[in-house]
């Protein structure tokens, strides 16, 4: 006989504790960004004071602008390249250097960022490239296209091949069958991939620190240098804004993957 509930008290307790552990620190951070007191630990009532100070911080605004530009451009290039890579890996036959290709795509997912950052910087120096917006964008594209490739590839893997075959039996050439049938089906995964690439780029400190030049700090670089000096209420405020932005991105991405999962397995990142 099947038991009515497979959930034990231990299961529920570990789930509840685990989720509390994941969320409480972030909630506390958000709460304290509305604290009126300059002392970070004393609650002085609600206030938007730190948000106002933030908008007067020119260096911070410039860093935000730089980060957003890098995130949008690198995510867009990465989505294009990552989708192509996913198609090649899941629809192409064995081609010369395929093992190397998949190796290059999976390695950056776990490669320590200090190595990726250092190696790219040495390349840029050797090429005599001026460091700034473009070098960071190229570096982020290299990292995030691998994540896009994995997300799109897992969607392609779970797709029903007979749909593509039907299109071709009805006279479509492969490229047309791909554009008319496959692409709409994997579109949600592509959207989710773009969102993931965007947030990863917005988040990255180490690779950006290596590849950027003087005077073009990204937001994480700016936050990092402030955090090293200690906790400040303005940092709570900017962190809250970033969390809010990412929350919007997640909602859009999960709506996209809901569309995707209604047609099959969902394409969860990783």
């Amino acid at each position: 006989m099947r038991k009515v509930s497979r959930l034990s008290r231990f299961n529920i307790a570990s789930l509840a504790l685990g989720l509390a552990f994941l969320y409480l620190p972030i909630l506390i951070l958000v709460l304290y960004s509305f604290n009126a007191s300059r002392l970070v630990t004393v609650w002085g009532g609600w206030s938007l004071r730190w948000y106002r100070e933030l908008f007067n911080d020119r260096a911070m605004i410039e860093a935000v602008w730089m980060s957003l530009r890098v995130a949008v451009s690198s995510a867009t290039i990465a989505t294009l390249l990552g989708t192509l890579a996913a198609v090649a890996l899941s629809r192409g036959e064995r081609f010369r250097g395929r093992t190397l290709f998949s190796g290059m795509l999976y390695a950056p997912l776990v490669m320590p960022e200090v190595i990726t950052g250092l190696s790219l910087l040495l390349l840029f120096v050797a090429l005599n490239a001026e460091r700034g917006f473009w070098t960071v964008t190229i570096a982020h594209t290299t990292l995030t296209m691998c994540f896009v490739a994995v997300v799109v590839q897992s969607r392609l893997g779970s797709l029903d091949r007979s749909l593509e075959e039907a299109a071709m039996d009805l006279g479509c050439d492969p490229v047309r069958a791909f554009v008319a049938v496959t692409l709409p089906l994997i579109a949600p995964a592509i959207v989710a991939g773009w969102m993931l690439a965007f947030t990863l780029s917005l988040d990255d400190l180490v690779i950006a620190s290596f590849t950027t030049g003087p005077g073009s700090a990204t937001l994480p670089i700016r936050i990092y240098s402030e955090v090293r000096l200690g906790v400040k209420p303005e940092i709570n405020a900017i962190c809250t804004l970033v969390i809010a932005l990412i929350a919007v991105v997640i909602v859009i991405a999960s709506l996209a993957s809901k569309l995707s999962s209604s047609q099959g397995e969902s394409a969860a990142p990783l």
Binding site: R2, K3, S8, N11, L15, G18, L19, F21, L22, Y23, P25, I26, I28, L29, Y32, L81, L84, A85, A88, L89, R91, G92, E93, F95, F101, S102, M104, L105, Y106, A107, V110, M111, P112, E113, V114, I115, L118, L120, L122, V125, T142, G157, S158, E164, E165, M168, L196, D203, V206, I223, Y224, V227, V231, N236, I243, I246, I250, S254, A268, L270
Partner: protein
């Protein structure tokens, strides 16, 4: 005719652009790291020599090759700072990965046993922090752990301690930060294998009289090993080279290799030694990296 055959040719063309990109920006840079790790530090821009100058002709190139040396690697092997940094990185990574497995497994197990509808919700809840900025999550802990932070206030209010405890700049804080940041990476692959497991197997074992701990140890755990492997590699490899978390949460008396590399590069401007440190780190991680690649490939390319 199968679509695999017909799609194959255009799909191969799709590989060209990403292939060239990754070759240029992922593979080629390692050649530069290797080359500079064999160069000498110099007070110049860029701060190393010899600098290969193709325009200078063949003889100059030969001279540049002759000037390469393995001195930097000898330094890494002989200076205690670097040896300790590697040992510490591996110790921290092993300990943290073990902690992650211990904490992540019950959570993943609980998720897999939820009713189907709630599983999807729990999965989103675990993924969301993974999307939230790494740096911000570490900063959130600094908020809590600082001298007059929330944790000390609570401990004082409950009379558990008589004076504030120093949390920041300790290994405890660093492990907390690592576990907190990498927990989703451990939970997700574990959950993926546990959720696919047939509940009948556990029920059969328990019907045949096995006590719950035996059911878990003899049936559930061995069947979840692929997920354990994926989770362990997904956490272990990046933790060995971790920079941000030990830098912000641990004390500065013993450094991990990622911090040493950062310090050599940004503070001491010693690019050759930093490159040599990166090469050694890469060699240390080669076996886990190859294992991870095989796992990832099997998961993505042979159906899930």
């Amino acid at each position: 005719m199968s679509s695999r055959r017909i799609f194959a040719r255009p799909a191969r063309f799709a590989a060209i652009a990403p292939y060239v990109w990754m070759g240029l920006f992922f593979l080629v840079p390692f050649a530069f790291v290797l080359k500079i790790s064999l160069s000498q530090t110099a007070i110049a821009q860029p701060p190393y020599e010899p600098v290969f100058d193709l325009a200078a002709g063949w003889d100059a190139l030969k001279a540049a090759f002759a000037a390469l040396s393995i001195d930097n690697f000898k330094l890494l092997g002989s200076d205690d700072i670097y040896v300790f940094a590697y040992v510490r990185s591996l110790t921290v990574a092993v300990t943290a990965t073990a902690l992650l497995l211990l904490i992540g497994y019950p959570i993943a197990y609980g998720m897999a046993r939820l009713p189907k509808r709630w599983q999807a919700v729990a999965m989103v809840l675990v993924i969301v922090p993974f999307w939230t900025s790494f740096l911000i999550r570490i900063y959130a802990w600094i908020n809590i752990l600082q001298h007059d932070g929330l944790l000390n206030q609570i401990l004082l209010a409950l009379h558990l301690v008589s004076q504030p405890v120093v949390w920041l700049s300790t290994d405890t804080a660093m492990y907390l930060g690592i576990v907190y940041s990498y927990l989703p990476f451990m939970i997700l692959p574990l959950y993926a294998t546990l959720a696919k497991m047939e509940p009948v197997l556990e029920e059969a074992a328990s019907d045949l009289g096995a006590p719950p701990w035996q059911v878990f140890w003899l049936v559930t755990f061995p069947l979840s090993l692929p997920g354990v492997g994926a989770g362990v590699l997904l956490c272990f490899i990046p933790i060995v080279g971790e920079f941000v978390i030990p830098d912000l949460l641990a004390g500065s008396n013993s450094l991990m290799i990622g911090q040493t590399l950062w310090l050599e590069f940004f503070t001491n401007k010693d690019w050759p030694v930093a490159s040599a440190a990166a090469i050694v780190l890469l060699v240390v991680l080669l076996v886990p990296l190859l294992l991870y690649e095989r796992l990832q490939k099997r998961q993505l390319e042979q159906g899930r």
